[in-house]
Every structure is written in C-alpha cells, then in structure tokens.
Amino acid sequence: MSDAPMIVTPVRLDYEYSVSESETTFLTEVQRGRILGQRCPVCSKVYVPARASCPTDGVFLGEFVELPDRGIVTTFCVVNVPFLGQKIEPPYVAAYVLLDGADIAFQHLILGCPADEVRMGMKIEAVWKPEAEWTTSMENIDHFRPTGEPDADFETFSGHL
C-alpha cells in the first residue's frame, strides 16, 4: 500500500453563484431587520425564506408576506459533540424554528435557557445583533430565546414536522 504510485491532480474551478429573485428580496429585507416569506398561489402555504417556486405545486410563489420574529421550536437537537470550526461551546441547541404565520421551519440557534430545557412547542423570539452589524444574512439574528409563554399544543404544529 505505502509504496503504491500516487499522482496528485489539483482541480480548481471558480463559479459565480446567483440567488433567485425571491432570495434577493429576502436578503435585502433581512438586512433591514424584516423577515419575508412568500405565499404559494396554489396551496397558500407561506415559505420562509422566500424562494423561487413551490416544490409541492411546481409554480412560482406569489405575494410576499412579512413575518414576525417570533414563533416556536418544532424539533431540535442538543449538540454535545465538539467539531472543527465550532463557534459555540457545547452543549447548545440547533432547532427548527417555525415563525408565527409560516408553514415551513428553518434551522437556527436556541440560547437563553439550559439546553436540557428546550422543548417541542416552546415559544421563542429572535435576539438580533446590533443594527450596525446587519448584513444580507440570517446571521443578523444572533439566536432565538424562550419568551416564557405557555408551549404550543402539539396539534398546532404536527403538520410542520
């Protein structure tokens, strides 16, 4: 094995990557602290972030819908394992966040309570970075934290898991 002949053939290609028009609008608005979803004209579901098409119906999405920066945890995992490039000291919680009025969850960070207290249905709100640091990124939201309100009933989000 060790004396097998080897060749090294470096490969490098540069790409220009475009986001869709919907994503452009989303990112431009998130820089201003607004979260935009977009509604499917067929199934009426609200996707966030805004995106080009409804993957269920195969049509372009329609109206933009401004969403609040609060919602619930649908499902989550507690990260206990250290890995290269990790920015937060474990244990911490990566969760699916379903904003009020949205039909699809996105992944974000939950802080502000011990990791073992995070629950499905827990009400949360965004903690934004200082406005001076806002860019065209969801990282403008530093994390989500519990609001302390009563948990949502499972039935209210069972269709979003």
Binding site: V11, S18, S20, A52, P55, V59
Partner: protein, 350 residues
C-alpha cells in the same frame, strides 16, 4: 416494440447569461406549464419524469434535486436523472415506456453554462489520469480535431464557414435562438481566429437554457397531435475515451448509431455539432446527403445550452413532423470531447 411518440416540446429563451439560479428552476417552471398546455396533460398524468444536467455546470452537488422544485413533487412523482445531456434522459424514459410500466413521460434538461469558465469545466469530463490534469479545454481539443481534418483534406475552412452562414440564417426564424444573422461565408472567413483553425463563430456560443419534451406511448399520442412524431429508431454508441486511440476526423459511434437507428430516407436532421467542422464529420459519418435539410432551427452554433441542446434537437426535429414539413426526421445528440458519444433518434409520421 411499443410505439412511442414525441408530442410536446418547449424551451427557455437561449441567452448568454440568465440571472436565475444554477438549478434552473426559473427556466423550468414555464417549460413544464407550456408542455401541459400543449398536450392537455396534467402533472398527475405524467408517469415518469427524467432530467439531464450536470453538477459541474451548476457548481454544486445535487443540483438536479433542487430542479425538482420546478415540477412539484407532490403527490409523490416517479423521477430519475442522468448526468448527461437530456437526450439521454429521453432515452431512459423511452426504455421505461418500453417496459410498459408507464404510458407518459416528461423529460427536461437545463444548464446555466455561464456560471463558470465552461471550457475549463468541460476538461473534467476527460480521463482523470492522463488528460484532465493537463487541462486541455474543450475549444482547444476541437481545434486539434479540426486541424487534423484540414491537414487530411477532409474539409476546408470555407466549408466550415458555409455551415455557420447557413445556421445563422436559419436561426433568424427561431425566436429562441441566441445568435442569428445573414453573414456570408466570405464575411466569416475575414474574422480572426479564436483557437486556430477555429474562429469564434465556428464554436457554439456559451448558452444558459433549458428544454422539455413529452413522450406518450400508443394511441393516446393521436389524441394529442394530429401527426405525432413516432420514434422508429433510437440508438446511442460510444467511441474510445482516450483521444489518442481514435481517428478524430471520423465518428464511428455516430455511424453505427445512425445505421442501427435507420436514418435512410430522412429529409431533415437536427445535429448536435457544437463546432462547425463537427457537422461535416457527422454528415459524412451518418450518411446524410445533400438532400437532407440540416438544422433548420439554426442548430447548436446559434444556441447551445449545456445538457439541454441535444434534447432540443429531438424537440426541433419532432416539430417538423407535427407541422407536416417532413415525414421522417433525424435528431442527434453528442456528449464528451470531440464527438465521443453519439445518440441518434429517428422519428416518423404515422
């Protein structure tokens, strides 16, 4: 064999650069809807979806999965993909139709060729040990092929210029063409070389685009089209991968595919020749004489969306049958460097 016909064809405008994403959704959503409108079929009527595209073009993994967003995968659909021009996806769909498992198929292909340096991206389809590490780009390889033919007296630069002049003129009646015009061969020969002996116009343009085709088996095709384009021959063959192992001035795999598919008697041929001299190679290899109208759409020298341009040849050829312009047509698609892989689809009326 089960009778299968091409009954629907749609394509995006072929352009040098779109602002859309690399997964083609912006181009593909209107294509699917146009195909449904043309055929009267709905999503739930489609038994099988099959696509052709390349992650190397998109610059991201699983770009074809993102593209499924364009067709809407609910209720669950039956779907497959080839990392080849969508003409080969159409072949897969045709085989699946032959099994009798399905009666209809929608085939699509897309390529945002402008996302990177296409000539370099295409180097990566070469053998990874001896050729790819040298980064011979696609235009330079075609230029070497062209030089071999010129030196052997197989064609001249004037012959190539005439191919380009005819293609550009025909493209004037194709609203989706990227390039068109009415240059004379002499005008074209006055242009500088891009990669001697190829001039810029001898090379297909870099094109962002997408296309879709609907296939239907049996009697149902007659309900959709007065004159469906029935597939009567369908073959694809491959020549040696090593460029030094074959005579680049010929295309034996195109010859044998053409014989097996039965191209004799066709009056129109849409050839996927991304370089002008390659059309000359293909005409000879496939036995297409002067009586055969070549690339009435303008062909790939006027629009060449990667991974869709071969499928477009099938759609454009089928259209001649639907319109009554031709009773028998040939569509050809190529893949790999210097016409290494060749697919021939013969379609006939009634």
């Amino acid at each position: 064999m089960r009778s299968v016909a091409v009954v629907g064809f749609a394509q995006a405008p072929n352009v040098r650069r779109t602002t859309g994403t690399a997964n083609g959704v912006e181009m593909l959503v209107p294509i699917a809807h146009e195909l449904y409108a043309q055929t009267g079929l709905e999503k739930r009527d489609i038994g099988f979806f099959c696509s052709g595209s390349s992650d190397y073009i998109a610059g991201r993994a699983f770009s074809f999965v993102m593209a499924v967003d364009a067709i809407g995968a609910w209720p669950p659909i039956n779907e497959s993909h080839v990392e080849m021009d969508a003409a080969w996806a159409l072949y897969e769909a045709w085989v699946k139709l032959q099994t009798g498992e399905i009666d209809t198929a929608l085939v699509y292909g897309f390529g945002k060729s402008s996302g990177s340096d296409l000539r370099r991206v295409l180097s990566l389809q070469l053998d990874p040990y001896y050729l790819a590490p040298l980064w011979p780009d696609s235009v330079s390889l075609a230029a070497l092929q062209c030089r071999l033919g010129l030196d052997a007296g197989k064609w001249g630069e004037k012959d190539m210029a005439e191919v380009v002049a005819r293609s550009r003129a025909d493209a004037r009646s194709n609203p989706n063409a990227q390039l068109s015009g009415d240059p004379t061969a002499d005008d074209l020969l006055g242009e500088p070389y891009l990669a001697d002996p190829l001039r810029r116009h001898d090379c297909a343009p870099i094109t962002d685009g997408a296309a879709g085709v609907v296939l239907v088996a049996g009697e149902r095709a007659n309900e959709i089209r007065d004159t469906p384009a029935w597939i009567t021959g369908f073959e694809h063959r491959i020549d040696a991968q090593n460029l030094g192992a074959r005579d680049l001035t010929t295309a034996p795999s195109a010859s044998s595919a053409a014989v097996a598919a039965g191209v004799d008697g066709a009056s129109v041929a849409e050839l996927h020749a991304p370089f002008s001299h390659q059309e000359l190679i293909l005409r000879e290899a496939m036995g297409l004489g002067g009586e055969v109208r070549i690339n009435p759409s303008g062909g790939p020298l006027c629009a060449n969306p990667m991974f869709a341009a071969g499928l477009i040849r099938i759609g454009e050829a089928a259209r001649r049958v639907w319109d009554g312009d031709a009773a028998k047509v040939v569509a050809h698609a190529t893949s790999g460097p210097c016409l290494q892989q060749n697919l021939v689809c013969v379609m006939e009326a009634g």
